[in-house]
Every structure is written in structure tokens, then in C-alpha cells.
């Protein structure tokens, strides 16, 4: 039998339906691969018992000629999604041992459609980071290495465990979340496909909150089609999330092969940043040429406030985080460090429970929301956010269907390579992705080539609100033209 972990999610789904193999067989194949890949540290918790029980239930349904769109398909779950009865940590010491009494809407929809949970995936603490090095459970190693080198690389972040597990063939797809680039940047670093849908497309209920006006869930998978299949199950209106959009979920998979004939694709001149490596520049023009060859019209567009998106983000996101993370007080769940009174208990609990990056962001957020600074920082940043969104609206109103940009300013960097860098240098990883969150738009990252040392690079497509279908269509063209990524051999096994 062929290696079941090498299949795409679509191939696995079809094979399961045809009963070419059972869900238990493909689940066991993945559990074995996960066990051999512990060196990557992609999983915080492996859940083989849950996986086997779910797989057997799927096999029973498939045997009876029933089953949902993901019946029997084994997936990884970012440890930011609450899973009933399975520890959910958000990558933080403060939630160590937290076992939710409820299931997030997104994961409950995956189980409704028949998917199997393999385990909970590592991430930057509270999804704050771009390299998966801020996790209290240790960094994730990328399955990628530079040719001839044994040096470990980062998988990107914050969904680093998700991206690494998908690229290492430890799961057929994974859930992820994106507040400033946390789906698209790790996807670009690992040669996988990641989509952050429009704000409101996926319910945030049961997803540990970071910055509520920016957070969105989405999938990371090995192909555009696989990402489309997963998103259809993850998306949809949820009365439990007031910001969830009451809009029908289209058949995203059908959009993948739709093509781009007659579409207008914008190239924003402001994304041509100073010091951009020539290989990123080349990749970007190549992507535009592929879309043109497929029948799209390429036009230059202007998004004049791009330059201000990242600084504005570093006011809005920490402000919301400081408010959201106020709930970790040592009373209702998680870590508690005793103190002489309740204030000292709070202060000690939070000092010990939160890591450096999280503490720093909470403090920044507290400062920009404090009396006397609120207008100068927070209100100003929210006004600039209005301008950023208006830039996109004007481009779309002029007839542009989607915007093509690089996904990241570089390929993956080495583990600990940025440890002496200032926080701001790390933040620059999100320079191309953060605008999309600020404007609430959908964005997809698709592998498009490699850098000089053979590491994957991605292109990003940004769409109109709730038009993920155009992104899948355009990403399908890029994927076809670039050719499927040859994922690294399992040096870790």
C-alpha cells in the first residue's frame, strides 16, 4: 500500500469514500509519523486514544454508506482551539492543565463533518510571535533545512506547529489562526497553503482570544484544494459569536479550478519595500506573469497607508490583548500563585504564568489605553485603520478583483537567530500580512518558488470581503504554474 501520509487531503477523502483504506489505517499511519517526529516538537499533546475512537466511528459511518465531507480524515488542531476533555494551553504556562468543558465552534464543525483529531499543535504563546519561539512548550523546528546544513530553522508563527506538522506529513491539514499573519507567514515558510478568511467568516467562539477585532481562524494544508475543503467545514454563521457573519458558505473547492480569465489583479507599489531581496522581487513578477498568462489583467495599484499598518497594529493588537488577557487572574482556571492579598496573587500569577513577549504586549496595551494616552495612541491608530481599509475599498471600487503581494519579506530564518534582535525587527515579518487583518479582508499564502538556498517562498493574494473564492481560483493558478512543492524528506524520523 502507498504511504497514506503522503496523500493530499482530497485524495485521502476520496480513498476513504471508496473504502480503498480505512480511517483507522490512515489515522494509525499518521500517529506513527507523529511519534517519530517528536524532535520537531510540533505537538503539545498527542491524542491517539481520541483519534482511534473517532476513526473507528468514521469507519462505521463509511461502512454504512454515510459520512460527512471530511469523514475519517485525520487533522491537527492548533492548541488555541478549545477541545472538550482535551488540554488546551494556548502555548502558555498560565493555562497548563486547563481542560475545557466545551468545544470551539470551528472544531465542532470539523467533527460534525467526520474529521479525526490527532492532537493539539504547538504555537507561539497566545499566538503572539512570528517564529513559534515564544511557546512555553519550547520552539517548533521546521521540517525544512538548508541543503547541506543541519541548522534548525523556524517554521514561522504563530501557527508554527500547524505549518510544521502539515509540511512534515504528520496530518493531512491543520487548523490555525491569524491575527497579523499567523497563518500566512508560517505557510510561506514551510511550503504549505494557508488562508485567513474574511473577518466574520469563521466563528471565534471557543478560540482563545488574542485581539478580538483581528483574530480569524483558517486552515493550513498542502494544496489549495485541501485548504478549500477544510475552510468549507470550518466556516459558517454561529449565533454564539456576534461578529460571525450570517452569510452562506460557498463551495470553495469548486472555485479552485475556476481560473482567472478576465479578472483584474492589482500590484500595490507600496509593497515594494526598501531592501527587499531580489529573489522576492523576482518571485512577485513571476506570479504576476503566471496570472497574466492565465488570462488576468495585471494593473498597478496604490495603497498609500500601507507603511502605517504595522505600527498601528502594534497599538491595536496589544490594546485588545491587554483587555482579553485580563481574565487570567488565577481564580477561574489555570495557574495560581498565592500572595499575601488578592492583588499580590494576581501580580505573582501573571508574572509567573505569562512569558516575556506576552508580558511586554500586555504592558504596551495597558499603556496605550491608560488615561491621557488613549486618544494619542489608541484612537489615532483606529483612525489610521479606517484609512487602511479605505485604501483597499478604493482599489476594489476601481474594479480590481484581487491583489498580489509577497507573503513574507524573506524565507525562514534560523532557530534563535533573532534572539538578540529587538522586538520590532521580529514584528517586520508581518509587514505584508498585517494590512489584511487591519482591513478585515481575506488573504491566502501559496507556495510559489524557493530562495537561493532552496527554502520555500510564498505569494499572497488579498481579496474583497467574503470573496475567498477568487483567492482560491487565483491561488490555484499560482500553484499550477509553480508546481507542487517537493516537501523535505523525513530527516527527523
Amino acid at each position: 500500500m502507498t504511504d497514506l501520509t503522503a496523500l493530499t487531503l482530497a485524495e485521502a477523502r476520496d480513498g476513504l469514500k471508496k473504502r480503498s483504506f480505512s480511517s483507522l489505517e490512515i489515522t494509525e499511519a499518521h500517529l506513527a509519523a507523529i511519534e517519530k517526529a517528536r524532535a520537531l516538537n510540533a505537538f503539545i499533546a498527542e491524542t491517539p486514544d481520541v483519534a482511534r475512537a473517532m476513526a473507528k466511528a468514521s469507519d462505521a459511518r463509511l461502512g454504512a454508506g454515510q459520512g460527512g465531507p471530511l469523514e475519517g480524515v485525520p487533522l491537527g488542531i492548533k492548541d488555541l482551539f478549545c477541545t472538550k476533555g482535551t488540554q488546551t494551553t494556548a502555548g502558555s504556562r498560565i493555562l497548563k492543565g486547563f481542560v475545557p468543558e466545551y468545544e470551539s465552534t470551528v472544531t465542532s464543525q470539523l467533527w460534525r463533518d467526520g474529521a479525526v483529531m490527532l492532537g493539539k499543535l504547538n504555537l507561539d504563546e497566545f499566538a503572539m510571535g512570528s517564529s513559534n519561539e515564544t511557546s512555553a512548550f519550547g520552539p517548533v523546528k521546521s521540517p525544512w533545512r538548508r541543503p547541506g546544513s543541519n541548522a534548525d530553522l523556524v517554521p514561522g508563527g504563530s501557527s508554527g506547529g500547524s505549518a510544521a506538522a502539515v509540511a512534515a506529513r504528520l496530518c493531512l491539514g491543520a487548523t490555525a489562526t491569524d491575527t497579523g499573519g499567523s497563518i500566512r507567514q508560517p505557510a510561506a515558510f514551510t511550503g504549505t497553503v494557508g488562508i485567513k478568511p474574511t473577518y466574520g467568516r469563521c466563528s471565534r467562539w471557543g478560540v482563545v482570544a488574542f485581539a478580538s477585532s483581528l483574530d480569524q481562524a483558517g486552515p493550513i494544508a498542502r494544496t489549495v484544494q485541501d485548504a478549500a475543503i477544510m475552510l468549507r467545514s470550518m466556516a459558517g454563521h454561529d449565533p454564539k459569536d456576534t461578529t460571525s457573519a450570517d452569510i452562506a458558505v460557498p463551495d470553495f473547492e469548486a472555485a479552485v479550478s475556476r481560473g482567472v480569465k478576465g479578472l483584474k489583479i492589482g500590484i500595490p507599489k507600496e509593497y515594494r519595500v526598501e531592501g527587499m531581496p531580489a529573489e522576492i522581487e523576482r518571485l512577485w513578477s513571476e506570479g504576476a506573469a503566471w496570472l497574466r498568462d492565465a488570462g488576468a489583467e495585471i494593473v498597478e495599484v496604490s495603497l498609500p497607508h500601507t507603511h502605517y499598518a504595522l505600527p498601528a497594529y502594534y497599538i491595536v493588537a496589544p490594546a485588545e490583548a491587554s483587555s482579553n488577557l485580563a481574565r487570567y487572574d488565577g481564580v477561574r482556571y489555570g495557574l495560581r500563585v498565592p500572595g499575601k492579598d488578592i492583588v499580590e496573587m494576581y501580580e505573582k500569577t501573571r508574572a509567573e504564568g505569562f512569558g516575556k513577549e506576552v508580558r511586554r504586549r500586555i504592558m504596551i496595551g495597558t499603556y496605550v489605553l491608560s488615561a491621557g494616552y488613549y486618544d494619542a495612541y489608541y484612537v489615532r491608530a483606529q483612525k489610521i485603520r479606517t484609512l487602511i481599509k479605505r485604501d483597499f475599498e478604493e482599489v476594489y471600487a476601481a474594479g480590481v478583483d484581487a491583489i498580489l503581494t509577497p507573503a513574507t519579506p524573506s524565507a525562514a530564518f534560523g532557530l534563535a537567530e533573532m534572539s538578540t534582535a529587538s522586538p520590532v525587527e521580529m514584528y517586520l515579518n508581518d509587514v505584508f500580512t498585517v494590512t489584511v487583518n487591519m482591513a478585515g479582508l481575506p488573504g491566502i499564502s501559496v507556495p510559489a518558488g524557493t530562495d537561493a538556498s532552496g527554502l520555500p517562498l510564498g505569494l499572497q493574494l488579498i481579496g474583497r470581503p467574503f470573496d475567498e473564492e477568487t483567492l482560491f481560483a487565483a491561488a490555484g493558478i499560482v500553484e499550477q504554474a509553480a508546481g507542487r512543492v517537493r516537501l523535505p524528506d523525513a530527516w527527523w524520523a
Binding site: V99, L214, T243, M363, S370, R380
Partner: protein, 95 residues
Amino acid sequence: MSVDEKTVKRIAHLARIAVTDAEVPHLQSEINAILDFVETLEKVDVEGVEPMTSVVPMAMKKRQDGVTDGGIAAAIVANAPLSEDRYFMVPKVVE
């Protein structure tokens, strides 16, 4: 704008995060680096611009004012570090 050591301690207290005196200078320089980075926003003309309150225009949903859930006290305190008789336990707050 930049913060001094006193402000760093005040922010830490507002955020209910204990910091030692030894940690303050490092935190101060990191916070100031971020404040430097966001200083560029002062250059943007925001005259007459409404601050964003909702990234996707949507009407606030309302639900019926009725009980939809409940009777799950045991589940609510299940993860509490300290609880008794379905109450969360905290150090004495009022003398």
C-alpha cells in the same frame, strides 16, 4: 513619547504583573523601542477620520432575552485552582 522607570512600574501595576526592580530598565528600553516604532503614526493626517469600530460593517445582533443555558455550576468551577461548594475561592478582599 517615551516612558521612564516610574511609568514602567505604574503600567506593570495597572496590568497586574509583578516586576522586580532589576527587570525595569530592560522593559523600559523595549517599551520605548516600540513607542519609537509607532511614533511615525503622528505624521498621518487623521483630521475628520472616524476611528474604526467594526472592521466588517454589520448590525449588532440581538437575541431574545431568555435563559438559554445553565445548571452547569460543576462544569464552571471544574478548572478552578481552588473552589469549595461550587464557589471560586479567593484571598479575603473585604475586612
